[in-house]
Amino acid sequence: MIGGQPLFRWTAAGRDPREFEQVALVHLDALYQTALRLTRSRAEAEDVVQETFLRAFRAFDRFNPGTNCRAWLYTILRNVFLNRRRQEGREVLDPQGMALAEAAESATACSFTGDNPEEEFFQSVLHGDVDRALKAIPLVYREAVILADLEGLSYKEVAEVLGCPIGTVMSRLARGRQQLRRALSGFAREHGYLRKTE
């Protein structure tokens, strides 16, 4: 109670840990996997996941049972992750980042001039390459690709998690995939699978 008024309807009754375990905690693996890809460190991923579930539990009475719980959890996970980044003064989603991303993209494009950007290099992708490539692309694109392509969310769900219009999801996905593919073909070249245009 603050100022004599109940601010929110958070009651013990709305927060049954067993129901939460059945509905939300079953997504622990998916959340951990995503946290790993966002954070790149097991210790940080574990902290992010634990904080996510605690916050989800506190807000569980506001979760609409008819909706996708996993998508709801991703939304919380993303907020937890971004808050931590902000506190650490690290990369966040800002226009500067976007501008840098675009600059990086055109720079990458230049460095590969002469190559066919649509090379079929997928067979040569080694274990860990995709995660390495994801790490190399800016967060705004990385999170869209992770949610849509690795976690299999629909555009609408991704839009809800990211809090942006579906059109924005589509453009971020298109650009993210393009950058990811460039990074991967770079690795394929490193591995010696791609010497020159086939």
Partner: protein, 261 residues
């Protein structure tokens, strides 16, 4: 559909996110076009590659730890009535800008309502309906979404970042709401149409750079309110009054530059 049209829809097409008619039209083209068929095949192969990435399970200790933390939280749950008690959020304050448009009910001071909204929005998982750090994008969103002309000040020189916006309610009016943050501190600014009873703003009069404001404190939050043109503006935050007044002044200047509401 032409090659260009297929190419423009390549991603939603491959993702199965195109409307049925467009999917059918794209199918019809791809069947007869070797170049587009190759493009689609490559895109699908890439998608498969991503979907088939090995997945790592959460360590068993993490599962135990999380389940334990949740149960412990449930036991403490009865006592927790406010997000303000949550340690992770305790340090947070919020900057929200909102504009309201409809019947004015001077039943209780506006600041009460604004502070309550501020607290309620801050505890949402997504306090901003539109997440954006771009003032232009936010202003455009209000224009398209609600036909509102909203001045979205840029406080970034003071280290206060725009987080996003939402259409809000204040005093039973539709309101535009902007969320800013300084570090972990959030700040709310509300803008509403001029009430008939302007005296209801309440609080202590204060003058800053030649303009009159009213400051108040509710539930531990500072508020600064003022009238400008035909609108009322209110800032809510745990930032100090000096910072709020500076933000108010900046917003006033910004509005003077753009067209009036």
């Amino acid at each position: 559909m032409t090659c260009l049209e297929v190419e423009a829809r390549l991603h939603p097409y491959v993702d199965g996110e195109l409307p049925v008619e467009e999917t059918a039209a794209a199918d019809a083209h791809v069947v007869g076009c070797a170049a587009c068929a190759a493009l689609v095949r490559r895109e699908r192969a890439f998608r498969r590659l991503l979907r088939q990435q090995p997945r790592e399970s959460a360590p068993p200790e993490l599962r135990t730890r999380v389940a334990g933390a949740v149960r412990q939280e449930a036991r403490r749950g009865g006592r927790r009535v406010s997000w303000l008690a949550a340690p992770a959020l305790a340090a947070a304050a919020a900057l929200v800008v909102a504009v309201a448009v409809s019947a004015w009910r001077p039943s209780e001071p506006l600041v009460n309502d604004l502070v309550d909204k501020h607290i309620a929005y801050a505890q949402l998982e997504r306090p901003a309906e539109l997440a954006s750090t771009d003032p232009g994008e936010v202003a455009e969103w209000f224009r398209q979404r609600a036909g509102m002309r909203v001045t979205v000040p840029d406080y970034s020189p003071s280290g206060i970042r725009l987080v996003g916006a939402r259409l809000a309610e204040a005093h039973e009016r539709r309101a535009a709401y902007l969320l800013y943050e300084k570090g972990r501190t959030l700040l709310s600014v509300f803008m509403l149409p001029l009430p008939d009873d302007a005296a209801r703003l309440g609080g202590t009069p204060v003058s800053y750079r030649g303009h009159e404001y009213r400051r108040d404190e509710r539930k531990g939050y500072h508020t600064v309110t003022w009238l400008d043109g035909r609108a009322v503006f209110g800032l809510v935050s745990s930032l100090d009054y000096e910072a709020l007044l500076e933000c108010a002044d900046r917003l006033r200047l910004e509005r003077a530059r753009t067209t009036s509401l």
